[in-house]
């Protein structure tokens, strides 16, 4: 293992079609400048992270996803400002259809559906974002320690995280809610922690692959501290898969938090919340479908948007890896 000559798999991989394409070199300088055919197409001027963002942008689905996401954010942030009524105001008989001024009809009590829709997205998005960020911070930290630290630390951490993984996120949340009741901070905490093991896994694998590279060893040889190596050598090289993971986790967070509200364990009535609205108005679905349909579609569109962005970034990443010949 330690003494492997270039006679290993890797060199073969480099020396097949890639070799014939000379993938190793991106020509910048020619020995005789007069004959230089110019800078190679796609030669990178900026750092790879910026390049990733740039490439992702050009994947069509990222643009679409981002567009939708921005529209949703606008809806959620500006919504309350343009709502015709207050979310708890009675504007008509329950479950009445759309009419003048009450464009989406009324809900099971008599509130204006449109207003409640405009107010109802804030909680989901805020909580989902908070949970994902929490999960990312915890997961990445644990993953880095596991991936670059000592073997026994790695084993213990992974076993411990496996236990958390044994619970479906929603079950974990429900377990604690049964005792503490539906507290929002608790939901953020639990959903975030339920993401941590999966993110830690991804981080760990990525970190381990990087930690094997010689430039990390070179830094160790110079005597650079472990923390600095983690921050300056390893972390910058794993930002790309982490970005993808963030997008995916955000999608799940939205789904779980909306589901918890739907089950009645999120915001409580009479607060306006999309998930809650779906549950409240289910009974009248045949009579007044808008009260259910609109929030459902909005949640769906939101998750589709975040997933598209995550997928777009993932595709751009594959493209970049191929060009630099990096291990996927």
């Amino acid at each position: 293992m330690t003494d492997e000559t270039p006679s290993t798999r890797k060199i073969i991989e480099e020396q097949t079609l890639d070799d014939d394409l000379g993938m190793q070199s991106n020509v910048v300088l020619q020995p005789d400048p007069a004959l230089a055919p110019g800078v190679a197409k796609g030669a990178r001027q900026y750092g790879e992270f910026v390049q990733l963002l740039h490439d992702s942008w050009h994947v069509r689905r990222t643009k679409i996803g981002l567009g939708i996401l921005l529209a949703m954010l606008a809806l959620v942030i500006l919504g309350p400002l343009v709502a015709p009524y207050s979310p708890t105001e009675f504007v008509g008989p329950p479950f009445s259809g759309p009419s003048d001024g009450v464009y989406l009809g009324t809900d099971y009590i008599g509130h204006d559906v449109l207003t409640r829709v405009l107010y109802g997205g804030r909680t989901v998005i805020t909580l989902a974002l908070a949970a994902t960020v929490l999960g990312l911070v915890v997961g990445v930290s644990l993953g880095l320690i596991a991936g670059y630290g000592r073997r026994w630390v790695d084993e213990t951490l992974m076993r411990a995280l496996d236990v958390v993984l044994a619970f479906p996120s929603i079950v974990l949340a429900l377990l604690f809610v049964s005792v503490f009741g539906p507290r929002l901070w608790l939901i953020v905490l639990l959903v975030g922690l339920s993401h941590a093991p999966r993110i830690a896994r991804v981080t760990r694998v990525a970190a381990m692959e990087i930690a094997h590279r010689d430039f990390v060893r070179a830094a160790e040889a110079l005597g650079v501290s472990r923390t600095r190596i983690l921050g300056a050598e390893i972390l910058p090289n794993i930002t790309s898969p982490l970005l993808v993971e963030f997008g995916l986790r955000l999608t799940y967070s939205i789904g779980i938090i909306a589901a918890l509200s739907f089950l009645g364990f999120g915001l409580q009535p009479p607060a306006a919340d999309w998930g809650l609205m779906i549950n409240e108005n289910r009974i009248g679905i045949t009579v007044q479908p808008y009260a259910v349909a609109v929030p459902v579609v909005l949640i769906g569109v939101l998750t589709i948007a975040t997933n598209m962005i995550a997928d777009g970034v993932a595709r751009a990443l594959v493209g970049i890896d191929r060009d630099t010949g990096a291990a996927a």
Partner: protein, 322 residues
């Protein structure tokens, strides 16, 4: 001891360890609280002396913590999970038995539906790579994979029960007198919802692993040996492409154990998931403990099966190499 057996036993051991730790978490979440758990659980209902005392009795809160845990765990082992708080004097296990059967049937139904469809779609998209079919499926998968399962469920309800047809009952009204086998239409919508939630992942995985295999050196070599297309596909490609997919299938089945919670609630299906939601709402702690333990156990067992199956299938691992 043959290395294969050793490997499997280690996995089993780890599984048992995980279950043990899971029970610890379930216990800790419900009884390891600062202050008085019974008070916290009952909230304002604690004023009701009878209920309060009953709960304290149930949870054995008078005894020291580790004793609480060990006696609880001992109970779990023999199948005695205490009585429901809501329906006093009725053992938790009695209440769960039927529901467990219902949920199992539902999950199996969903699995039998999803796996063949997903495999077919995945394999075809790989073989017809970059075709119209492939791009359409790709986009559909992306969309469906994003949607939370209850959103899918509601959309189905909106579609079938209201706007379009009045086929399916929007809510499963189970008649407990009639055996479930005669009320199969109640399974349909929940099963379809679960199926839609799971198919995108499995088919995407199969597509990716099939493509990777089709582009591998050994498949290229097989072609250069002059082997027929069928041989290349069935003898050389599929066995290798299946392995990662099996893992994904097992993981998704495990996921279904959690997915049934919202889906059953949505359709009013009398299963384990709905029971969990109800007991959480009612603060029926023994029920909650039992259900969480059950669902987590299913998760762990299915993952274990996935691990062992992978070992058995890949020759490298089978012959004891790491």
């Amino acid at each position: 001891m043959p290395p294969l057996l050793k490997l499997i036993l280690i996995r089993l051991g780890l599984g048992v360890l995980t279950l043990f730790l899971v029970s610890l978490i379930v216990f800790a979440a419900t009884q390891l609280l600062p202050g008085d758990p019974a008070q916290a659980i009952l909230g304002k209902d604690a004023a009701d002396k009878a209920r309060y005392e009953a709960l304290r009795q149930q949870l054995q809160l008078d005894r020291p913590l580790y004793e609480q845990y060990t006696s609880w765990l001992a109970g779990v082992m023999v199948g005695d999970m205490g009585n429901s708080i809501v329906q006093q004097d009725v053992p938790v296990t009695d209440l769960l038995a039927d529901r467990l059967i219902n949920s199992t049937v539902l999950v199996l139904f969903a699995a039998l539906l999803s796996i063949p469809i997903a495999i077919l779609i995945g394999a075809l998209s790989a073989v017809w790579r970059d075709s119209r079919f492939d791009s359409t499926t790709n986009l559909t998968n992306l969309t469906l994979a994003a949607l939370p399962e209850f959103v899918v469920g509601i959309l189905l309800v909106l579609f079938f029960a209201t706007a379009v047809f009045n086929w399916m009952p929007a809510v499963s009204r189970v008649d407990s007198e009639v055996p479930l086998s005669q009320q199969l239409d109640l399974f349909v919508l929940p099963a379809i919802t679960l199926c839609i939630a799971v198919v995108p992942y499995i088919s995407r995985m199969l597509r990716a692993s099939t493509i990777e295999v089709l582009e591998s050196e050994y498949v290229m070599m097989a072609r250069l040996k002059g082997l027929s297309g069928n041989l290349v596909l069935w003898r050389h490609s599929m066995p290798n492409a299946i392995v990662p997919t099996l893992q994904v299938i097992a993981l998704n089945l495990a996921w279904l154990a959690g997915g049934i919670v919202t889906v059953e609630y949505l359709f009013g299906f009398p299963g384990v998931g709905q029971a969990l939601v109800d007991s959480v709402a009612n603060r029926d702690i023994p029920m909650v403990q039992a259900l969480c333990l059950l669902i987590a156990a299913v998760y762990v067992v299915l993952n274990l099966i996935a691990d062992v199956a992978t070992i058995l299938i890949s020759p490298r691992l089978r012959t004891g190499l790491r």
